[in-house]
């Protein structure tokens, strides 16, 4: 079920109506059963058969965690089983075709003809929505139990109400068990202010997705659908900047909606995006972009590998591993791996040269740092969005050899440019913090607050773009 669909509006209305009554019960089992049932309806709406995958993946971790508690001496075995189960399901459903294709090519280099890719069963080619998100959530549970940072729950319903909770199930944010499970033990009542703030987040999220991202999408899609249409540098800069905003608004919009829905349920999800394009360095960018994933990789991969404890060069190697795996997490394609590796290269150079610190000391240096960081990020987005590395290189060549070819001003580009300007203005306003209404008396502040939510709500209705699925569903 998509947040931006009519059926979700009906689902949400029924869900919150029932939650109003169920929240009052003293029996947590009833609340958890309700949350699990609602979440399964939400997920099963897409394809009910893949519910079995979540259930299987979840049961492995649920029993694995209980096993760790019961058999302390063999807890490593249970951890290995849990991680193998989760990574295994990812390997089967997300990476099997990619692995098979690459093995075929590798064999071909040695003159061996193999047809592994053709033998991949069809069900393995169908990527279950949100698999990368819920397997990571599930893994964080067992790893935290293994480390002793979390006591495993005895209730399977409690565990599944955490794992499958619908707001963040298919596209994050990746919520840690130690953050969410205690909140689920007792759903606290919500105040009017919380409901208003939750509602505001939902509207902001929808505005980002259906107004900004979906109106920029046709421009980006038309550019990438025919990459040989033009060699014009400015054209490709516009398209790539468009994609940078599209993916940001699409994904952060989803996170905002999820956080808003959680607020209505009496839950708190941490911030997942914090204006990443305001960053003055790549390090800062990764502290602002998809924060729940970056911190997941930091806590469950980079630090366990050794982090910065084993010397400078090892820290670089661990960072490279983390970034490449992060790239692969986004999709089974070399373009994603290159994207991850490119960011690792950026961070290595940044760590060695400390260029952001140097630039920030200069007059106007902060703006130059922001500009340079964004140019580097944009180069990365080319690989992220392109169908192949060859396509990405062609676009990059065009971007850096300006004034060749013609700027193709199609309807999609014209509309996209309007929305791109709106997006840039919004980001500039937030950067310079033009919160004029804060200087108003409290009464007028609330009116101004309502006014801008009203404008966004009307824009969501009357200026929404063509309904697209959220980009991060494919990951």
């Amino acid at each position: 079920m998509l947040f931006n669909s009519f059926v979700f509006l009906v689902f949400a209305a029924v869900f919150f109506l029932l939650l109003y009554f169920i929240r009052r019960t003293n029996k947590p089992g009833i609340r958890w059963a309700f949350l699990v049932a609602a979440s399964f309806v939400f997920y099963g709406w897409w394809d009910w058969r893949f519910l079995f995958l979540i259930i299987a993946s979840g049961l492995i971790d649920y029993f694995g965690a209980l096993g760790m508690e019961r058999f302390q001496k063999r807890k490593k075995l249970f951890l290995v089983l849990s991680v193998a189960g989760n990574v295994g399901s990812l390997a089967i459903f997300k990476y099997s075709a990619f692995i098979a294709e690459n093995l075929d090519q590798l064999m071909g280099l040695f003159g061996i003809q193999s047809e592994l890719a053709a033998q991949v069963p069809p069900f393995m080619l169908l990527l279950p929505v949100g698999i990368s998100f819920y397997t990571f959530q599930s893994m964080s549970y067992t790893i935290d139990v293994y480390r002793g940072g979390l006591k495993p729950t005895r209730s399977v319903l409690h565990f599944f109400s955490y794992l499958s909770l619908f707001p963040q199930l298919v596209a994050g944010p990746i919520v840690r068990a130690r953050d969410l499970m205690p909140q689920l033990e007792k759903l606290r009542p919500t105040s009017e202010v919380e409901r208003w703030n939750g509602f505001k987040l939902i509207i902001i999220g929808f505005f980002k997705k259906v107004v900004l991202a979906d109106n920029i999408a046709p421009m980006v899609n038309s550019g990438f659908a025919n990459i040989h249409l033009t060699d014009n540098g400015p054209f490709w800069w516009v398209v790539i900047i468009g994609f940078a905003f599209q993916i940001y608004f699409d994904f952060s919009g989803y996170s905002d909606i999820a956080r808003g829905l959680a607020k209505w349920m009496g839950l708190h999800f941490r911030l997942n995006f914090n204006h990443p394009y305001h960053s003055t360095s790549l390090r800062e960018f990764w502290g602002r972009w998809h924060i729940s994933l970056s911190t997941w990789f930091r806590d469950y991969l980079y630090i366990p590998l050794g982090g910065s404890r084993k010397g400078t060069w090892n820290a670089h190697i661990f960072m490279w591993i983390t970034m490449v795996v992060s790239g692969l997490w986004h999709g089974a394609a070399w373009t994603f791996i290159i994207w991850g590796a490119l960011h690792a290269l950026y961070i290595t150079i940044e760590r060695i040269t400390s260029w952001p610190r140097f630039l920030n000391r200069l007059p106007g240096g902060t703006l130059i740092s922001i500009l340079l960081t964004n140019v580097l990020v944009l180069v990365g987005w080319v690989f992220f969005r392109a169908e192949s590395a060859g396509d990405a290189l062609k676009i990059l060549q065009d971007m850096f050899t300006p004034w060749e070819g013609e700027f193709v001003m199609s309807t999609e580009i014209r509309n996209g440019l309007v929305w791109l300007t709106v997006s840039l203005l919004i980001e500039l306003i937030t950067y310079f913090r033009f919160k004029l209404h804060l200087s108003l008396p409290l009464r007028f502040q609330r009116i101004a607050d309502m006014g801008y939510v009203l404008i966004m709500l009307l824009a969501c209705i009357y200026l929404r773009g063509e309904g697209n699925v959220f980009i991060y569903f494919q990951f």
Binding site: N215, R414, V453
Partner: protein, 304 residues
């Protein structure tokens, strides 16, 4: 300042949505109306005394209401589809729409050369509409009024409307529940269809096999007591030339075979009617033609 801000916000949004609705041109939501029309047509299980079959020249060119007005007490329905031809599935579909208990049962077929080609005999639009998923049918049929009310604007389009500089859309279309798609252009261009007709029959001329299949049904229906009427829908002289020279269509040959199979053929004078694009009848001509057709059929079947 109200404490319950959310209900007040929705109330304000509802009030402010009215100007957006009033700003809208009928044609802005044409796609929604079109989807609804075709979905309803394909899900229609009612039966009628008279059913029209054919392609876009029939669904745009025949108004069942104007036709039935000439034949008091008869029910009529336009069951034509886009780029449609006379394949078996489609003709069985027409048959199902006939009221078998009616004292008068009539199938009226608009026979264009394009409806006798192999490609159109597969009736792609008919099959697409029949096969639509259940979920989208519910949304399209029962919630389309909501969709229309809340239909979005393009940013440039909305700006032009607010500034009063938006252009009137040339194509005007009204969808009727009886299957007629009333169409006209503010500024007709009778050479417009000729562009596509230059290549329309390339590699796909009028097919003997399709004609044969059609005659099998005409014969079967006639033998079952259904009056089967055929006619060639009016079009411009240029289009008719393309159809005959490039499509290999011979009206007299089809006419003779239709009569041999037990059908009734109506000779239409295309010069009496106006098209908006050279191929499809303009709405005024469609109303006139529908009434004329009924009168011409009555001349041949006096008991009507």
């Amino acid at each position: 300042m109200p404490k319950r801000r959310i209900p007040y916000l929705f109330l304000l949004a509802a009030l402010l949505s009215l100007p957006f609705y009033l700003l809208r041109d009928e044609m802005d939501t044409e796609t929604i109306k079109k989807n609804r029309h075709w979905t309803i047509k394909s899900r229609n299980t009612q039966t009628y005394d008279i059913v029209f079959g054919g392609d876009s020249r029939v669904f745009r060119g025949i108004s069942p209401a104007h036709f039935a007005a000439e034949l008091e007490g008869r029910s009529a329905y336009n069951y034509a589809y886009w780029a449609n031809g006379y394949g078996k599935d489609y003709m069985e579909g027409i048959e199902r729409r006939i009221d078998r208990s009616s004292p008068l049962q009539m199938i009226v077929l608009g026979i264009t050369p394009h409806s006798l080609t192999r490609k159109t005999a597969r009736s792609p639009h008919y099959h697409y509409e029949i096969g639509r998923a259940g979920k989208s049918v519910v949304q399209t049929v029962y919630l389309s009024w909501l969709e229309e009310y809340f239909a979005p604007y393009g940013i440039i389009e909305l700006s032009e409307k607010l500034l009063g500089i938006s252009k009137t859309q040339n194509k005007r279309i009204l969808y009727h529940d009886n299957g007629w798609v009333e169409t006209w252009w503010v500024q007709p261009d009778t050479m417009n269809a000729a562009k596509s007709y230059r290549t329309l029959f390339e590699g796909d001329p009028v097919s003997e096999e399709v004609i044969e299949g059609l005659m099998v049904f005409v014969e079967k229906w006639s033998s079952h007591g259904i009056q089967v009427v055929g006619f060639r829908p009016p079009a411009s002289h240029t289009i008719r030339q393309f159809e005959e020279i490039r499509g290999g269509f011979s009206e007299s040959a089809v006419r003779n075979r239709f009569l041999e199979a037990g059908g009734i053929w109506i000779d239409v004078n295309p010069g009496d009617y106006q098209t908006y694009d050279g191929s499809h009848l303009d709405h005024n001509s469609a109303m006139q033609f529908s009434a004329d057709l009924a009168r011409m059929i009555r001349e041949q079947i006096p008991e009507l």
